[in-house]
Amino acid sequence: MEELKQDMNKKGSALVMCFMVITVFSIMSAAMFSSSVSENVFTKRYSEFTQAFWLAEAGANKALNELRISYATTTVADTAMGAGGYSASITNNADGTRTVTATGFIPYLAPFRVQRVIQVIMNKLPMVPPNFYNSALYSAGNVNIDGNAYDIDGNVIYAGTISSNTGNINGTITHDPTVTPLASLSFNQLRDISKGQDNYHDSSQLNGPFPSTFWYDESAGIPNVVFLEGNLDLNGKTLVGGFFVVGGEVIYDAVLSGNVAVKGCIYTRGNFTINGGGNALNIEGGVWAGTGATLHGHAKIDYHSTYMQAIQNLGIDTDVQTVSWLDTQNPY
């Protein structure tokens, strides 16, 4: 009986220790689980937020496309896409511009978990700006000139900045911030003309062959319109001619290098870069550059009024283009 009493008086320290260890491990597990779950929720929300942004972009692009078809359009149909959808409204402004408010949301039907709204102002110029066809180099961005081996015979218009070494420009130099963004010529019209002339080059045919003269029909005053759905690279070419329209709906760069003679003009909404090196590049016509022009080495651009007049006579419409883009939700 005495021995039994002694056994019952033993303290249950092992049990207490076990409870303590279990409690500690439980707390740690709960913390890890909570951290993992909240991180997962945060990541999912972030992912949906990003998707909603691109859906809003899709809505703005859809509105741009509708406006290019008809500038009087005021509605864009709501569209389901992926995990969500977009809506876009078009408002006519007093100055002739259009304000597109595009909303991307997830899911497609309310209640929405996330929404992103962007506001884009679009404009269709009634005509191209003055002096659009009067310049050897017309840049809606900066003009960077490296060295003094270049030669520009004609006027230069730029919207941003220009390098200080302008001594070899034989013409007027005009700083005009209003020329940005570059007036957008109708690519649909230009594509059609180039296809009719068999001068159209899709992204798999960017290396030519290109015409060797500016004129498609000189007696009628019609130039070759060479449309490229990508970059213009004249490496290895010696003589090409025509009105080169570079890029589709996406901005591409025109990179010219080597010893090449261009009888005609080049229009790009992207960057215009001449990597002349020790060779010569002679452009007889003119250049329009959407985001900037960079001239390295032996580059020569001569304005050619007859070629410019022929391009102007094509009567190409201006396209609707974006003039201002705003994310309405301030991140701060």
Binding site: Y46, G141, T180, N271, T291, W325, D327, Y332
Partner: protein, 151 residues
Amino acid sequence: MRAFTIIELIVAVLIFSLILGGIIGIVLVADKSWDSTLGMLGLVQEIRLGMDGMTREARQSGFSQATVIIGGERLDFFTPSSGSVVSYYVQSNQLIREYPAGTTKVLANHISQISFVSTASMLQIQITASKTTIGNRALSISSAQQVKWRN
């Protein structure tokens, strides 16, 4: 009742030491992993915070409206709604947004390096976040993004 022999005690102590050593080893590895993971998670969140805010705002600018200065470590730009210049730079390991001039806001901590490269159509941003954990482990992570100029 007879007592334990010295051999029995030594064997018991040895077995117990081995088990304890194993447990301590596992705990140390787990602690190291926990420390690194938590630290890295913190750095990722800092980069995400900074990068997200920067890209969203810079996207509203344009090539001719933005200037990269001080060897690519500072970006100044305008947006359609800003009215005055917006700046991003790193100071004392903090990513700073300055707007308007003189008014600063800390976007992220532990940012050791930032670089901006502006091209005709894109802005490239690279951020590196670094810190030393409580366990004295040096952690570093980098992230890069390209932003298309919209204006």
